[in-house]
């Protein structure tokens, strides 16, 4: 994935330093703002691919900052970070104009995966292709048809949506919670490895009998569909 320009607006210096370092190691270009006003000033320039905004900030709180940017028609995708991980806070955050919401404490792999997906959404033309291709796997979104190496594979509707989401973000890590949120539209803790079981079923259907697996488990992060031959 190409380097993204990321603005991290976070008042906790240590957490911010960690994020800056981690994003740099992941090959991106992070900037940091220590309070709401500074962050608002930097974000107003509109040069960033993604903003990471803490909800509780000195001088200007996170939600007001997002509201201000959206009023100025600055549509940079925003991921809200919050220590308040509750259902209604999430709703408030998204309503205020945030594009995604992550509760602290979080795994960096989760944040990275989400930020990359957000940034890519910005880069992409609004026109989604009707056919996704990864290696010899072809998914026809309109015809609801899936083939691998020309052979049709029958999927359950939910499996189809799962694969569609993975292929839309081919080459990117998607986490279990991202899958639960985007494919099932729930944000709760499923207690068990329900998502893993769904993915292993999907894997059995698309990768079984093929030399090159397409669906990969990324340890400690999630899943990725990618053509490993290339």
């Amino acid at each position: 994935m190409a380097a993204m320009k990321i603005l991290i607006i976070e008042d906790d210096r240590e957490a911010a330093a960690y994020l800056v370092k981690a994003f740099r190691e992941a090959g991106h270009q992070p900037d940091h703002a220590g309070d709401g006003l500074e962050g608002y000033g930097l974000a107003s320039e509109g040069v960033y691919d993604v903003l990471i905004v803490d909800r509780m900030l000195p001088k200007l709180d996170g939600l007001s900052l997002i509201g201000g940017l959206r009023e100025q028609k600055i549509e940079t995708p925003v991921l809200i970070l919050s220590a308040l991980g509750q259902v209604d806070d999430r709703v408030k955050g998204l309503r205020a104009g945030g594009d995604d919401y992550l509760a602290k404490p979080y795994a960096f792999s989760e944040l990275l995966a989400r930020v990359e997906v957000l940034a890519r959404r910005r880069g992409q033309a609004s026109q989604e292709p009707t056919i996704y291709r990864v290696g010899d796997l072809e998914l026809d979104r309109l015809g609801h048809k899936l083939t691998r190496a020309g052979k049709e594979i029958i999927l359950q509707p939910r499996e189809f949506r799962l694969l569609e989401y993975l292929m839309k973000h081919a080459g990117q890590v998607v986490t279990r919670t991202m899958l639960l949120e985007n494919v099932w539209d729930y944000h709760f803790d499923p207690q068990t490895n329900v998502i893993d079981v769904h993915l292993s079923r999907l894997r059995a259907k698309i990768d079984k009998g093929h030399a090159a697996p397409l669906l990969h488990t990324i340890r400690g992060a999630g899943y990725m569909i990618r053509d490993s031959a290339r």
Partner: protein, 467 residues
């Protein structure tokens, strides 16, 4: 505050004073009214007597002229306790009668009149009389009246009676007020003394009750019930913190031990990596427990209004069934769903989803049939509307929960023996209960014979109740 000051400040005493004043005014008004009626009665009687005498005397005059009138008057005057008489010429000169003196001008006004007068032989006019003046043919004037001494005496008597009774009223009222105030004050003092003891930490104390069932007694009963509830909550808090200590300390200890172990014995980067991965896993578990605890606390304080929406519970049930279907199959469990086509309600879709997921997860984890029994591994989910309620039911064919343990497993961190070794936070049912309560519903555990049957009951109109 002095004892007297305290007494005078009591509501009871102040009320007594107010009543006293009201009663005094009332008594005064009644007596005044009685007095006026008595006076009117007297006056009427006098008037009638006087009129009758005048009529008689006028008759005498008509028959025998002034001489006959004077004679009659003289005769009547000589009788003891006679009325008052005066006969004058047109110019006002006295001809006969026992009235010596009248205020000037009285004789000029015919009709009934109240006036002062003096009897013959007296110089000043100390008496009061009610009299009628009558003009006789020929210019003579005739006055007939009655002395008002009796009436005045009665009036004085009534006034005295009024003041004496008012005096007694004030005296008895004040004494009664003080007495009642003292009684109430004593009981209130006893109650606040008990409250002080309770506040200083002895929660087992209760407020004293007399058993009379009066308002203070009922207040004490209610407050005692409140103390009971507070005591229970305190005990619950104590248990929760004990459980938190246990359930959080155990993984924290494991985490620490793992790190210590790695620091002492790890040789290769792979050893360190393995240890760190374990640390991440353990902390994930801890974060989960924290999140669940925070969520329960949040739900119990009732603030999640922003997450409310109109949604279809049947669809949530279908989603959850579908989500867990794969896991169930992997465990060899048949997961079935029986849901109405549509079950609209207002509430937290995510919350209901989470609650149902917890129930299904529990059923799959702990609902495996007892070994050796002929039961199949089946978990049934059903979602249907029953009257005003929507019922989400999850049944398994496992060992179930003994009747005496059912209330306990809904509490935080309670995990029955035999399940402690398996993964889980012990918060799943508590969270489901909190979700049910927030929607003004309930969570029930029943015997599925065999197995456990958990019912999440939600009011179909939860939306109105929440708003």
């Amino acid at each position: 505050m002095t004892a007297l000051g305290k007494l005078l400040r009591t509501t009871v005493f102040k009320l007594s004073l107010v009543y006293l004043v009201v009663f005094a005014i009332g008594a005064g008004l009644v007596l005044m009214r009685v007095g006026m009626n008595v006076k009117d009665l007297f006056d009427d009687q006098i008037d009638q007597t006087v009129e009758a005498e005048i009529a008689g005397l006028a008759e005498q005059y008509r028959q025998g002229g002034i001489r006959r009138l004077v004679e009659t008057v003289e005769r009547r005057v000589s009788q003891p306790g006679s009325s008052l008489y005066l006969v004058t010429t047109f110019a006002g000169e006295r001809i006969a009668g026992n009235v010596a003196q009248l205020p000037a001008g009285v004789l000029e006004r015919p009709g009934l009149i109240e006036t002062r007068y003096a009897r013959t032989g007296e110089i000043v006019a100390p008496h009061r009389a009610l009299a009628r003046i009558f003009l006789l043919q020929g210019g003579f004037r005739l006055l007939v009246g009655r002395d008002l001494e009796d009436r005045e005496a009665l009036r004085g008597f009534m006034l005295r009676a009024l003041f004496t009774s008012l005096g007694w009223l004030v005296l008895i009222g004040t004494a009664g007020g003080i007495f009642v105030a003292m009684r109430v004050l004593r009981r209130v003092d006893a109650m606040s003394a008990s409250a002080q003891t309770i506040m200083s930490g002895d929660l087992s104390q209760r407020l004293p009750r007399t058993g009379s069932g009066d308002e203070l007694d009922r207040l004490a009963t209610s407050l005692n019930a409140m103390l009971e509830r507070i005591g229970e909550l305190m005990k619950g808090m104590q248990e929760v913190s004990d459980n938190i200590a246990h359930d959080l300390k155990t993984p924290l200890t494991r985490l620490r031990n793992g790190v210590d172990e790695a620091l002492r014995n790890a040789r290769s980067p792979d050893d360190y990596r393995a240890c760190l991965e374990k640390v991440v896993d353990e902390s994930e578990g801890l974060i989960r427990v924290f999140n669940a605890l925070l969520m329960i606390a949040r739900l119990e304080s009732g603030v999640a209004q922003d997450a409310m929406q109109d949604f279809d519970v049947a669809e949530v049930a279908r989603d959850v069934a579908e989500l867990y279907d794969a896991v169930a199959e992997e465990q060899g469990v048949t997961l079935t769903l029986d849901a109405d086509a549509s079950l609209m309600m207002r509430g937290g879709r995510e919350l209901i989803g989470q609650a149902l997921a917890n129930l299904v997860d529990n059923a799959i984890k702990y609902g495996a049939p007892v070994e050796g029994s002929a039961q199949e591994k089946i978990v049934k989910i059903s979602a249907r509307r029953i009257g005003e309620h929507i019922e989400l039911i999850v049944c398994d064919r496992g060992p179930g929960v003994a009747a005496q343990d059912r209330a306990r497993v809904l509490e935080r961190f309670v995990r029955l023996e035999g399940s402690r070794s398996r993964p889980g936070s012990g918060l799943g049912l508590s969270l489901a209960t909190a979700v049910a309560r927030m929607h003004h519903g309930a969570l029930r555990l029943d015997d599925n014979a065999p197995g456990l049957r958990v019912t999440l009951e939600l009011p179909a109109s939860a939306g109105e109740a929440l708003r």
